[in-house]
Amino acid sequence: MDDPHGRRMGAAIHEVTAANARRGARSSLAWAPFLTVGALLLPIAAGFLGTLLPAFGYLPALGGAHFNLSPWRALVAYPGFATSVVTTLCIGIATSLLAVAVAVGFCAFASGRPRVARWLGARGGWLSPLLSTPHSAIAIGFAFLVAPSGWIARGVSPWLTGWTLPPDIATVGDATGWTLVLGLLLKEVPFLVLMIIVALHQVPVERSLAIARSLGYRRSHAWLKVVLPQIHPQLRLPIYAVIAFSLSVVDVALILGPANPPTLSVLAVRWFTDADIQSYFPAAAGAILQTLLVISVIALWFGAERCAAWAGRNWIARGDRRGLLAPAAGFAAALACGMFALAALATIAMGIWSFAAQWRFPDAWPQAWSLATWSRHLPELLAPFVNTMAIGVCATAIALVLVAACLENESRRHVRAGNAALWTLYVPLLIPQVAFLFGAQVLLVRLDFDGTFAAVVWAHLVFVLPYLFLVLAEPWRALDPRFARTAAGLGASRTRAFFRVKLPILSRPIAAACAIAFAVSVGQYLATLFAGNGRVPTLTTEAVTLAAGADRRVIGIYAFAQSTLPLLAYVAAAGLPAILFRNRRGITT
C-alpha cells in the first residue's frame, strides 16, 4: 500500500536535515577544528623551533649569537655517542618489530576463538588494566621482577638455583637494552592489540573469514591472509607511534635502559638538565638527531611495508594452505599472554612491596608485613594525588569538549576529517618529546607561564587530545544520523538533540575514551616535569624520581597509586553511563 503520509514525513525530515546542512556550512562549531589543531600544533612548532635553533648554535640568551655546527661536533665527540645511537636504533627497531609480530600473531590466534574474543571484549575488556597503567609504573615493577635479586630469582632460589646470593649477571640496565625492549613490549603489545580490535570493527571480519575458511584455510591462516591486509591501513599510524615511542622514550629508559652510555633521548635529557649551561647546545643537537632517527626508521618501515605487501600478495595468491603460520601465531599468542602476566606481576609486586616491612633475597615473600610505610607516606601522597587527579580531569575535560565539537561539526557539515587531519593528530605521538618540550619550556619561562597548573594541563592536552580523538571518532561517526534527524523532526534544536539524544547514546564510548585520556594524562612524565618546571609534582614524576634508588617500599606506594588511579577511572567509565542513564534502554554502543 502506498503511504503518502510516511513519504511526506520523510520528505519533511529531509527538508529539515538539508536546511540543517546548509546552516551547518556556517556552523557555530566551525572554530572547533582550528582551535584543536592550533592547541596541538602551535606549542609543538614553537617548541621544536626552540630546539632546532640551539642545535645549530643559535641561542642569544646563552651567548650563541651565530649559527654554527659546534653543538653537533660536541655531540659526536661525546664518548659513547656511536654506541648510544646504535643502541637506540636497535632497541627501537627490535621493540617495534616484536610488538607488531606478537600483537598480530595474538589476534590471528584469537580470531574465531569465541572464548578469547569474549575475554577481550568489544574495547579491550581485560586489557584495560594493562592499557591504563602508566609505562613507568610497569617499568618499576618489571625492574624488580627481572633483577638478579628480583622476584623471579627469589621464587626459584635457593631450592632450584642454589643461589644464596644473587648472581652477578646484568639484567636491568644491561648494555644491550634487552630489559628495556621487554619492558616496552609489556605496554606496546596491549596497545597494538587494542588498535587491531578497533580496526576490526570497520571491516567485514566474519564474512571474510567464513569465505576463506570455506576455501580450506585454517583460522589463523585465514585471518592473516584476508583480514590483516584489510585492517593494515588503519594500523599504520599506531605502528608509527609505537616506533617513535620506542626510539625516544625517556622515563622507561631511565628505569630499565643502559646508562653508560644511555639511549640518545636520555642523553639529551641529561644534558638539558646539566649544571653546565653550555650543554644545552649538544642537548638540542641530540634532540634533533633523535627526531631524524625517528623519521628515518619510519621511512625504513614504510619501505619495508611496501616490500612486505608485494611479497605478501604473491604469497596470498599462491594459495598455500600449509606452512608454519598457525603454530607461529600460537607461539606469538603464548608470548603475548606471558607478557600480560609479567605486566600484571610487575604491578602486583610493587603493591606487595608497599606492605612489606622487610623483604630480602632469597625470600619469595616479605619476612614481615607492615602498614607503617603507608601510614607514614599517606600525607605526602596527598598533594601529588590531588595534582594528578586535577590535571587529568582538566586535560580530559578540555580535550573532550574540543573533540566533541570537532566531531559534531563534522557530522553537521557532513564532512569527514581527511588523512591530513589524522596525521596532524598523530604529530605529538610521532615527534620525540625531547625535541619540543625543552624549547617549549624556554617559551613558557619567557611568557612567565612555567610551573603553573595551567601550563601542565596544556602540555598534557597535547598528548591527551590525540588519544581521545582516535578512540572516540569511530563510534561517533558510526552513530546512525537518523537519531539526530528524528529529534530534529520532533522539533528539537540541534543543541537539544546533541545533549538529549546523541550524548546519552554515546555515553559509553565517551566514558571509555575519557578513561583512556585520563590514563594518558596520569602517565605523562617529561611533559609534567618541563611544563611544571618541577613544581607540579604528580604520582608519575614522584615515582620516576624515587625509582632512581629510594626505598622500594616507598616506590611501591607511588607505583601502586599510579596504577590504581587510572584503573578506577576505567571502572567508573564502565559503570557511570549505566547509572546516569538507568532510565533509558539499550545504551550499549
Binding site: A65, D168, A170, T545
Partner: protein, 400 residues
C-alpha cells in the same frame, strides 16, 4: 667569554637594589616579611629520610613563621641550577621560581661564579653564630671555594663505608686495600656512577690517597697538573674495575640505589656521606642488622651541605628564615637523631647554651652513632674542577 662577563655585570647591577634592601632590614623585620610567603626549596629527593626531614621542617616553619615550605623534588641538584640559569636566559631578574637550593661543590661554584646567588646572607642569620667555623672548616670553605656568606651550612657529611659484617670479616682500611679485597671477592664491590657526587667522591678519596702531591688538589685542576696528579689513581682504577659488580660496566644511579643493592645482597659495601647511615638504615628496615660502619685509618673526605638563595628568588626573606631555622640547635639536634636523619651537626656543640647542649648529649648516648673520635680525620675536598674533570675523564676512558 666577554659576553658572559657582560651578562654577569648586568646581572650584578640588577641585583644591587635587592641586596641593599634586604641587607638593611633588621632580622625581626625579615621574619615579619616572611610571614605568609611560600618557599620553593629545590632539594635532591632520592633519599626518603631526607624527604621526611624536609616535610617535618615544612610543618615547623608553617606553625612558627607562617611560611609555606614547598619541597621541589629533584632527581639531581643540577636541575635547580639549570632552572636558575634558564630564568636568567629568559630575562627573569626578579620573581624567580627557586627560593632555596640544597647544594655544595660544583653546583655552588657554578652559581657563585656566575653571580647567580643572593647574598651574602649567612652571617645575618641569628643562629649562624653557633656554627663551628674552626674545626669544621668546610662550613665556610666549600671544596676550597670561600663561601663568603652566599650559602648557609645545615649538615655535615663525611665519607664512610657501610659493609655487611656477616659476609665481610676483615674490611680493608684504605683504597689500596679495597683493590686487594675486590680481587679476592670479585663482583661484590661497586660505587655510584661518577656523575653522582658519591661516585665522584669514591674516586676523589682514591685520588687523595694516591696522588703524588695532594697539595696540588687544593688548586684548580688544569691541563698541566691533571694527568700527573691523577695517573696513579687511574692505574689503581684500571686494576679495580674488572673486579667490580657487573665487571664495572654498570653502576648504581646514586647512594640509595647502592643501599638497595646491599640490602638485596648484590654487593657487600656501600659508600655514604652520612656517618650514621648504617644505624639509621637498620632502624628504618633498609639494611640488615649485620651492617657495620667503616672509616679509613688515614681519614676520609668530608664536606658540608649548604642552602643558597638564587639572585632572583621571589621569596628571599622567608628563604632566609628557613635557612636560619635549619641552623637552630633544636633543629640540628633533631636532624642528628638517628630516628630522623642522623646527620652530624654543623654547630659547635661546646658553645651552645646548656639546655641545647643537653639535647645533643642525650643523642650521643646511642651506641650506633659513631663519635667524632671514631670518624678519624676529615680530609678536605679538592677544588670542584677536579671532580668535573675526573667525571669527564672517566667517561672518556670507560664509556664505549
Amino acid at each position: 667569554m666577554t659576553r658572559r662577563v657582560l651578562i654577569i655585570a648586568a646581572l650584578a647591577a640588577a641585583c644591587l637594589p635587592w641586596t641593599a634592601l634586604a641587607q638593611d632590614l633588621p632580622w625581626s623585620e625579615v621574619v615579619a616579611r616572611a610571614r605568609g610567603e611560600t618557599v620553593n626549596w629545590n632539594a635532591w629527593a632520592g633519599d626518603d629520610k631526607t624527604n621526611a626531614f624536609i616535610a617535618w621542617v615544612a610543618g615547623e616553619v608553617r606553625g612558627r613563621f607562617g611560611i609555606t615550605l614547598n619541597h621541589v623534588k629533584l632527581k639531581d641538584t643540577s636541575e635547580a641550577v639549570t632552572r636558575v640559569v634558564a630564568e636568567k636566559a629568559a630575562g627573569r631578574l626578579a620573581g624567580g621560581t627557586v627560593d632555596l637550593i640544597w647544594l655544595n661543590g660544583p653546583n655552588f661554584l657554578a652559581l657563585k661564579e656566575q653571580g647567580l646567588l643572593y647574598g651574602p646572607f649567612a652571617q645575618r642569620l641569628p643562629n649562624f653564630r653557633y656554627v663551628d667555623t674552626v674545626h669544621k672548616r668546610s662550613t665556610v670553605v666549600d671544596f676550597t671555594i670561600p663561601v663568603d656568606g652566599f650559602a648557609a651550612p645545615w649538615r655535615m657529611a663525611q665519607l664512610v663505608f657501610v659493609y655487611d659484617g656477616a659476609r665481610v670479616r676483615s674490611p680493608p682500611t684504605s683504597m689500596s686495600g679495597m683493590l686487594e679485597w675486590a680481587k679476592k671477592n670479585p663482583g661484590r664491590l661497586t660505587h655510584p656512577q661518577v656523575r653522582n657526587f658519591l661516585g665522584a667522591t669514591f674516586l676523589k678519596q682514591a685520588l687523595l690517597e694516591l696522588a703524588p702531591n695532594a697539595v696540588v688538589l687544593q688548586q684548580p685542576a688544569t691541563d698541566g697538573n691533571f694527568s700527573a696528579a691523577t695517573a696513579p689513581m687511574w692505574a689503581w682504577y684500571d686494576a679495580l674495575r674488572p673486579n667490580l659488580w657487573r665487571q664495572g660496566r654498570q653502576f648504581p644511579e646514586n647512594g640509595p640505589a647502592q643501599r638497595q643493592l646491599l640490602n638485596d645482597g648484590e654487593v657487600d659495601f656501600l659508600v655514604s656521606f652520612n656517618p650514621a647511615e648504617a644505624a639509621v638504615s637498620v632502624r628504618a628496615g633498609l639494611l640488615p642488622d649485620s651492617v657495620r660502619t667503616l672509616v679509613f685509618a688515614r681519614g676520609t673526605i668530608g664536606n658540608t651541605s649548604f642552602v643558597a638563595i638564587p639572585f632572583n628568588a621571589a621569596n628571599k626573606e622567608s628563604a632566609m628564615v628557613v635557612a636560619d631555622f635549619l641552623l637552630e640547635p633544636a633543629t640540628q639536634a633533631y636532624a642528628q637523631d638517628i630516628e630522623h636523619l642522623g646527620s652530624v651537626t654543623v654547630l659547635d656543640v661546646e658553645r651552645l647554651p646548656a639546655a641545647d647542649r643537653r639535647r645533643f648529649a642525650e643523642l650521643s648516648g646511642l651506641p650506633a652513632m659513631p663519635r667524632d673520635t671514631q670518624l678519624g680525620t676529615m680530609l678536605l675536598e679538592p677544588h670542584p674542577s677536579w671532580m668535573t674533570r675526573m667525571a669527564a675523564e672517566w667517561e672518556r676512558r670507560y664509556t664505549r
